[in-house]
Symmetry: C2
Subunit: 198 residues, 2 copies
C-alpha cells in the first residue's frame, strides 16, 4: 500500500470557498486538490492501492483531515472544479472528534491533525525534503510506505520535530523545488518502477 | 531550451466552453490546461527556459495552436480555473492563417496544426510513447529538446507517420500509462537532473 499525506497550513476547513479561486480564498486548496488527482488517476483508470490524507489547518475548524481510499473511491473526475466540489462535500460533513465520517464513497473526514494520524500511517515513513536522500538512490525502499509532503510552506518546526520522532526518512525527488502534486507524481513513478511490472 | 507539444484531438477551438466542465464540454481541455502548469510552474516561480505548444483539433476552428513562452509569460496562476481563462482569451484572439498573434504576454495563437509546426520545434525530437526507450536510460540526451505528447487518445496513425518522418525518438517515462501533464512533470524532472545543478 502507498499512502500520501499532504499538509495544507492555510487550507480552509469550511465548504464555503470559491471554486473559482482555490489558490487565494481557499488557502492554496489547489495544491491539495491536484494532489488528489496525482495520487489516484492514471491514463485510463484509478489506482486502487493508494490512500491519501489531506491535513487542513486553515480556519475555521482546524485541524481537519480528509482521507481518500483508492479501492472505494467513486465520483473522482480529473479536473480541479469537480474535485474541489468533492472536497466541499467532505467539509460539509458533520464531524466532531477523531471518528472518521464518510462523505462520499471512499472519502472520510475526521477532526484530527498530523499528530493524531501516526497510527493510520503504515509502512516506512518517507519525508519529502529538498535535502533528503535521492529517492532514486534508496537501496532498501519499501513498497509499503507513507510519503509525507509539505505545502508551499513546507513543514513547521513543530511538525518537523514530530517527523523526526517518527523516524521519517528524508528523501528528495530532484534538484528543483516543486509543488506538492508534482512530488506525488514523481514518487508514484519511482514506486511504479520499483514495485510494479511494466 | 525545452519545448513541449501536447495534442488535444477533441479540444475545442472556441472560447465558449464552460470552465466548470473542462473534461467534457471542452474536449479534455483539462489535460491541456494542466500541461501548462506542469510546463512552467515550480514551487516558487516560473521556468523561463521552456516553450509549450498546445495543438487543438476540436470544433469549430481546428487546427489552432497556442504557444506559451516562459520568458515572456505573465498572469499564469497555478489553478485550472484561471489557466482556463487564459486559454479562453487566447481562443478569443482574431486569428487567420499561420501568423502568430499575441493574446496575453507570452501567449500566441496561430491557425496551424502539427505538420506546420515542424520548423518551430527545435533540438532533438522525443516522442513520448509507452514502448519507447526508458527516458532514464538515454545515453545521448540533448538539453535542447522538444517532447511530443499525445492526449488520452495518443497520436493518430497519420500523426505517427509524421513523427517518424521527423525522426522523433520514442521514449517512455515509466511502466504505467499516465495523463499528458504527468508525463510533462516526469520529463521535467529527468531533464532537471541531467542538465541543471541542484
Amino acid at each position: 500500500m502507498r499512502r500520501f499525506l499532504v499538509i495544507g497550513h492555510k487550507a480552509v476547513t469550511s465548504p464555503d470557498f470559491s471554486l473559482k479561486d482555490l489558490p487565494g480564498s481557499a488557502g492554496r486548496m489547489d495544491i491539495l486538490v491536484r494532489s488528489i488527482r496525482a495520487s489516484f488517476l492514471v491514463s485510463h483508470g484509478l489506482r486502487d492501492d493508494v490512500e491519501l490524507y489531506l491535513v487542513l489547518l486553515g480556519p475555521p475548524h482546524a485541524p481537519l483531515t480528509l482521507r481518500f481510499t483508492g479501492r472505494d473511491l467513486k465520483h473522482l473526475n480529473p479536473d480541479e472544479w469537480n474535485t474541489g466540489k468533492l472536497v466541499q462535500k467532505a467539509l460539509a460533513t458533520d464531524t466532531t472528534g477523531p471518528v472518521w465520517q464518510e462523505s462520499t464513497p471512499g472519502v472520510h473526514v475526521a477532526a484530527v491533525g498530523l499528530a493524531e494520524l501516526r497510527d493510520a500511517l503504515g509502512g516506512t515513513l518517507y519525508w519529502l525534503h529538498e535535502d533528503g536522500e535521492d529517492v532514486r538512490a534508496l537501496e532498501d525502499a519499501s513498497a509499503d510506505a507513507t510519503f509525507l509532503i509539505g505545502d508551499h510552506e513546507g513543514f513547521t518546526p513543530e511538525e518537523e520535530a514530530l517527523l523526526r520522532e517518527w523516524s521519517a526518512r528524508a528523501v528528495s525527488v530532484g534538484p528543483v523545488s516543486l509543488q506538492a502534486d508534482d512530488a506525488v507524481t514523481l514518487v508514484q513513478n519511482e514506486w511504479d518502477r520499483r514495485f510494479r511490472a511494466a
